[in-house]
Amino acid sequence: MPIEEKDIAKVAQLAHLELDEAELKVFGPQIADIITYVEQLNELDTANVSPALGGLTPEGEKTDSSRDDETAASLGQKIALAEAPDPAEGHFRVPKVL
């Protein structure tokens, strides 16, 4: 399936990436190449094959990962904000939304 520059621009928008002109030009053909390569999977008839879901082993699937619903200590405001690029008044501050 041919991939055009406008398809790449659309995907970039979905992925929240602001690609520049040069990147659009380079990524287009590279992604098209890779997509062509992965389309070799179409040689295989998988009509009666179930999809793998996740990477779990049979033992992993059997493992009960539920836990009691109990309160426990969390990071707390100070530590949670320690690495924030723009913390303010105990919150994460972001640019205006509208």
Binding site: H16, L17, Y37, V38, L41, T63, P85, K96
Partner: protein, 464 residues
């Protein structure tokens, strides 16, 4: 091990870093304090210096993941594997360089410059855990941790001539390992001795309530199983994987390993993995799809880098990600977004998950007739820095022998088996059924006893 051992490791890391660029952070003061504190603890790893890939969280140290978008981010907690390693007396001396978010097979995708191979500093050490691999190969530390999503521990181990283990999916906790592709990621171990890999796995493995994908499977005494006795062992030989695309010298070296195993008493069985040739295609759909979702969290709000002068929220997201991520990470986020986007999901992602089932079944079938499989780890020895940077697909094909294990969830270990005519290391890979790490260790150990790999690279820590 003593404080002196840790100090020697730190000094070697500092002295060789200009040459190798293996470490992004070296914690001299903290490591010496921790070494003094554990010196008499009697833990199984008391005073052992360890290097840790910079995508695994260590409290007090940075976790950049080789990316500008995290920069000098300092996580507020230890990964579970680090918690256990530290409890056992292991001393983290620093964080190692890697391909950005573990995406790469050469370490050239690090935002902080490539790691160099101690055997030839004009060549790559492999990737993505290249810094950890180089640190062990250069004799800086006896063991290091990395992460393996498609071969990122085994392939660099092979290219620098050390052991590299990717455990069974669910053997080690991923809590505190920065997620790339959650259904494929496992923390792996580098070392120069099989005993050391076994000892470290025994310490870090097991169920963790912070990671729901860790399995409730007992952790055996991995060291006790290293008996050297291979009588009755059956080793599967997938002949079809020794064909086109494999460097002849590497192929011959691995075939010679098969002969050694036969001489040691193992029975060699022909096996077939008919869907292995589709593994790269499946991998690059599933891994990029998972990555596009996992990396959505890097948005400049809660931690890490934020682009300046962005008065509107969505513009801030986009510009932060544009400036913060490198080319390969953007390419994979784009690919993953594409294969998951409306109208394409069934054609790519669902199809890939179905072929993943076929690849899994190939292994399950093979393991009915053998205890483990042998393959090359990498199709070639270490290649020159810069050789493949402009051709992502050629770079992806480096992972042809390693990605199958991640797709199937089975464990694999890369073992050094000599040098090429150019004096570059060659490695072979053993793959086993789920939870067969004891078998892999026994096989690797028996080979290492019979054909010890004692060569040292030109760049090696001085052993004064």
């Amino acid at each position: 091990m003593s404080v002196k051992t840790v100090e020697q490791a730190i000094t070697a890391a500092e002295n060789l870093n200009e040459t190798l660029n293996a470490f992004l952070e070296i914690d001299r003061e903290g490591a010496l304090q921790r070494a003094a504190a554990v010196a008499d603890s009697g833990g199984p790893l008391a005073g052992v210096p360890v290097a840790v890939k910079d995508n695994i969280c260590v409290l007090g140290l940075q976790a950049s993941c080789g990316s500008r978008i995290l920069g000098d981010y300092h996580p507020p907690y230890n990964a579970t594997v680090i918690e256990r390693l530290t409890q056992a007396g292991g001393v983290v001396i620093g964080k190692t360089n890697c391909d950005e978010f573990a995406m790469g097979s050469s370490n050239e995708n690090s935002a902080f410059g490539p790691v160099r191979n101690p055997w030839d500093t004009t060549r790559v050490p492999g990737g993505s855990s290249g810094g950890s691999a180089a640190a062990v190969a250069a004799g800086i530390v006896p063991v290091a941790l990395g992460s393996d999503t498609g071969g990122s521990v085994r392939q660099p181990a092979s290219l620098v001539g050390v052991l590299g283990l990717k455990p069974t999916y669910g053997r080690n906790s991923r809590y505190g390992l920065v997620a790339f592709a959650s259904s494929l990621d496992q923390v792996g171990i580098f070392a120069r001795k099989v005993e050391d890999v076994a000892r470290v796995l025994g310490v870090i493995a097991g169920r963790d309530r912070h990671d729901a994908t860790t399995a409730d499977v007992p952790v055996p005494d991995y060291v006790a199983g290293l008996t050297g006795d291979l009588k009755g062992a059956r080793l599967g030989f997938p002949r079809a994987l020794f064909g086109a695309g494999l460097d002849e010298e590497v192929g011959n070296a691995v075939k010679a390993v098969v002969d050694v195993y036969r001489d040691l008493g193992a029975e060699i069985v022909d096996v077939d993995l008919p869907h292995a040739k589709y593994a790269i295609a499946v991998y690059y759909i599933i891994a990029t799809a998972e990555a596009s979702s996992n990396l959505a969290r890097f948005d400049g709000v809660r931690y890490g880098f934020r682009a300046e002068d962005t008065p509107e929220l969505r513009q801030m997201y986009r510009r932060t990600r544009e400036e913060g991520f490198g080319a390969e990470v953007k390419r994979r986020i784009m690919l993953g977004t594409y294969v998951l986007s409306a109208g394409y999901y069934d054609a790519y992602y669902l199809k890939a998950q179905k072929v993943r089932t076929l690849i899994k079944n190939d292994f399950l079938t093979s393991f009915k007739s053998c205890d483990a499989l042998i393959t090359p780890t990498s199709p070639s020895t270490a290649f020159p820095i810069g050789e493949k940077v402009d051709d992502p697909l050629a770079m992806y094909l480096n992972d042809i022998y390693t990605v199958t294990a991640n797709l199937a969830g089975v464990p694999g270990i890369s073992v050094p088996c000599g040098l090429s005519a150019e004096r570059l290391p060659i490695g072979f890979q053993l793959l086993g059924p789920y939870w067969s790490e004891p078998t892999l260790f026994k096989l690797a150990h028996a080979y290492a006893q019979a054909r010890p790999f004692t060569e040292r690279p030109p760049v090696f820590a001085p052993s004064k």
